[in-house]
C-alpha cells in the first residue's frame, strides 16, 4: 500500500476517534487506566535515561571546552538548552515510541486478529474511538509532565556528574542553568511533546487496527508502526521547530 493511501486511510480513520463517545463514564475510566499504563509506567525508563543523558551531556561538554575564552558555566547552559529544546521532547518521545507505541500496536493488532474489535463493532461501539481516543488523551495529558520530569532529572544528572568528576563546580553549573533562560523554550517543548503524544499513540494504533492474519502479522505491524511513528515524529519535529522558533 502506498504512502498516500496510508495517509488518506489514516485521516479517515482518525475522524472516527473524534466522534461523540457512547458513554462518557466508560471512556473516562479508560482514560485513567491509560494514564497509568502509558504515563506512569513509562516514568522509570524516562527517569533513568534522562539522568544518564544529562550526566553524559555535562561530561562531554566539560571535556570539550578547552578554550579559556569559553566560560565553564557554558556546560550548565548547554545541558539545559539541549534537554529543553531537543532531548526531553523529541528523544524521549522516540524512546516512548519503542515502549508505548509497539505495545499499542501489538495490543490492538491482537484484538483485531482475535475478533475482539469485530465484537466491539457488532455491539455498536465505535471501536476506533474507544480503543484509540483514551490512549491519545492520556498521552497528551501525561507526556508533557514526563518531558518536564525528564528535563529536571537531566539537569540534576548533569549537575551531579559535574560535581562527581570535579569538572564543573556546582554553583557554576547552576549559574549556567539560569543564564539567558528563555521561558518560551519550555512552551515550545511542551507543544512539541503534546503533538508527539498524538503521533506516538495514533500511528501504532492505526497499524494495529488494520492488521490482518495472525501472530506473525501482529509482530510485523508492531515493527512497521515503530518505524513509521519515528519517521512521522521526526518530520513533525522539523516542521514544528521551524514554525515555533522562527
Amino acid at each position: 500500500m502506498g504512502l498516500f493511501t496510508h495517509i488518506g486511510r489514516y485521516v479517515l480513520w482518525m475522524s472516527r476517534v473524534f466522534k461523540k463517545p457512547e458513554k462518557w463514564r466508560v471512556y473516562r475510566k479508560q482514560i485513567f487506566f491509560e494514564i497509568q499504563s502509558i504515563g506512569y509506567a513509562s516514568l522509570g525508563l524516562v527517569a533513568l535515561v534522562s539522568l544518564f543523558m544529562g550526566a553524559v551531556l555535562a561530561i562531554q561538554l566539560a571535556y570539550n571546552i578547552d578554550s579559556p575564552l569559553i566560560p565553564m558555566y557554558t556546560v550548565g547552559f548547554g545541558v539545559r538548552d539541549s534537554l529543553i529544546l531537543e532531548f526531553s521532547p523529541t528523544i524521549i518521545s522516540i524512546i516512548l515510541v519503542g515502549k508505548v507505541g509497539s505495545s499499542i500496536a501489538s495490543e490492538i493488532g491482537t484484538m483485531r486478529v482475535t475478533d475482539q474489535i469485530d465484537a466491539l463493532d457488532i455491539m455498536g461501539v465505535n471501536s476506533t474511538g474507544y480503543l484509540v481516543g483514551p490512549k491519545m488523551i492520556a498521552a497528551v495529558i501525561c507526556n508533557p509532565f514526563i518531558a518536564i520530569i525528564s528535563m529536571i532529572l537531566g539537569m540534576f544528572g548533569g549537575y551531579a556528574a559535574g560535581i562527581l568528576t570535579g569538572e564543573v563546580p556546582g554553583n557554576t553549573f547552576i549559574f549556567g542553568l539560569q543564564y539567558a533562560f528563555q521561558p518560551y523554550y519550555i512552551t515550545y517543548a511542551l507543544i512539541k511533546t503534546a503533538v508527539f503524544a498524538v503521533i506516538i499513540t495514533t500511528v501504532p494504533a492505526y497499524f494495529g487496527y488494520h492488521t490482518s492474519g495472525g501472530a506473525l502479522e501482529v509482530g510485523r505491524s508492531s515493527t512497521v508502526s515503530v518505524v513509521y511513528s519515528i519517521v512521522v515524529l521526526l518530520t513533525f519535529n522539523l516542521i514544528l521547530t521551524q514554525m515555533l522558533l522562527q
Binding site: 457512547e22 458513554k23 463514564r25 466508560v26 491482537t110 484484538m111 482475535t114 475478533d115 475482539q116 469485530d118 465484537a119 463493532d121 457488532i122 455491539m123 455498536g124 461501539v125
Partner: protein, 252 residues
C-alpha cells in the same frame, strides 16, 4: 426475523456470495452449513454489517440494514448478540467486566444492577463462580459460555454464533449447542448458527441453509437434510464413514 434478498459480495475478482436469498425465522435455530470457504462467514459478516454488500439487502424485521442511518444501525446492533469462534472476550477485562461492558456502554444501569445482570447471565450459562476470572484462565468451553453470557446480557433479538463448538470435545460441544437452543426458546430470539458440525445440525437445527460455492444451494429441516437426494448436500452431510453408515441405516 432476518431476511436476506439477492445478496452479492465480491473481494476483487473473487465473487464470494452469489445472489443469496434466505429467511431466518424468529424463535428458531437457523443453521448455515457448508464447506470451508463456501462463504458462510462472509454471509454472516455481511448480515451484521461488518462487510458492506455489493448488492442486495439484509432486512431486520422488514428494515433494510444498509439503507439505515448511523443511529438506526446502532439501534439494530444493540439488538444483536454475537458468539465468535474463539469467544472474542476482551483479554484485559475479567469475565464479569466482559459481560457488564455492553451494559455499561448502552444502558444507564448502576454498577450494582450491572453486577446483578452479569451474575444472572453467568448462572444461566452454568458458570456461577467465574465472575472474577480473566479469559486466559478459562478453558475453551468456558470461554464460549462466557461469550454467550455476554451476548445475551443486553437481551438481544438476534443471536449470531460462528462455529460455536469448533475446537471443543463432543460432550462440551453438545452443552454449548443445548445452551444455544434453550436460550433461543426461552427468549424467542432469531438465532443463526454457522457450522460444519453435523452433530449441531441434528441436535438443534430448526431451519437449515446449505451454502455451496457462494450460492444458497438448499434449505430445509433437519429431518429433510438426512433424506435429501441433492448430491452436493449428500456429499457434505454423509462425508464421514459414520454418516455413510447412518445413511445406509436410514435407507433400510
Amino acid at each position: 426475523m432476518i431476511e436476506v434478498k439477492g445478496l452479492n459480495k465480491s473481494f476483487g475478482e473473487h465473487h464470494v456470495l452469489k445472489n443469496i436469498d434466505a429467511q431466518f425465522h424468529k424463535g428458531q435455530v437457523n443453521i448455515i452449513i457448508g464447506q470451508s470457504g463456501s462463504g458462510k462467514t462472509v454471509l454472516t459478516k455481511c448480515m451484521v454489517g461488518l462487510f458492506d454488500v455489493d448488492s442486495g439487502t439484509v432486512e431486520y424485521d422488514g428494515n433494510d440494514f444498509a439503507s439505515m442511518s448511523f443511529k438506526e444501525k446502532l439501534n439494530v446492533r444493540k439488538d444483536i448478540g454475537m458468539l465468535f469462534q474463539g469467544g472474542a472476550l476482551f483479554d484485559s477485562m475479567t469475565v464479569e467486566e466482559n459481560i457488564m461492558f455492553p451494559l455499561a456502554m448502552f444502558t444507564d444501569q448502576s454498577l450494582a444492577e450491572r453486577r446483578e445482570r452479569s451474575q444472572f447471565c453467568l448462572d444461566r450459562v452454568n458458570l456461577p463462580k467465574a465472575a472474577k476470572l480473566f479469559p486466559s484462565e478459562l478453558s475453551g468451553g468456558m470461554k464460549k459460555r462466557v461469550a454467550i453470557a455476554r451476548a445475551i446480557a443486553t437481551n438481544p433479538k438476534y443471536l449470531f454464533c460462528d462455529e460455536p463448538n469448533s475446537g471443543l470435545d463432543p460432550k462440551t460441544g453438545l452443552v454449548i449447542d443445548q445452551l444455544i437452543k434453550e436460550i433461543t426458546d426461552e427468549y424467542n430470539i432469531t438465532t443463526i448458527v454457522i457450522t460444519h458440525d453435523m452433530n449441531s445440525v441434528i441436535e438443534i437445527g430448526d431451519n437449515i441453509h446449505f451454502i455451496y460455492k457462494g450460492e444458497k444451494w438448499w434449505e430445509g429441516s433437519k429431518e429433510e437434510i438426512l433424506r435429501t437426494n441433492n448430491q452436493e448436500v449428500v456429499d457434505f452431510v454423509y462425508a464421514s464413514k459414520f454418516m455413510k453408515r447412518v445413511r445406509a441405516d436410514l435407507a433400510k
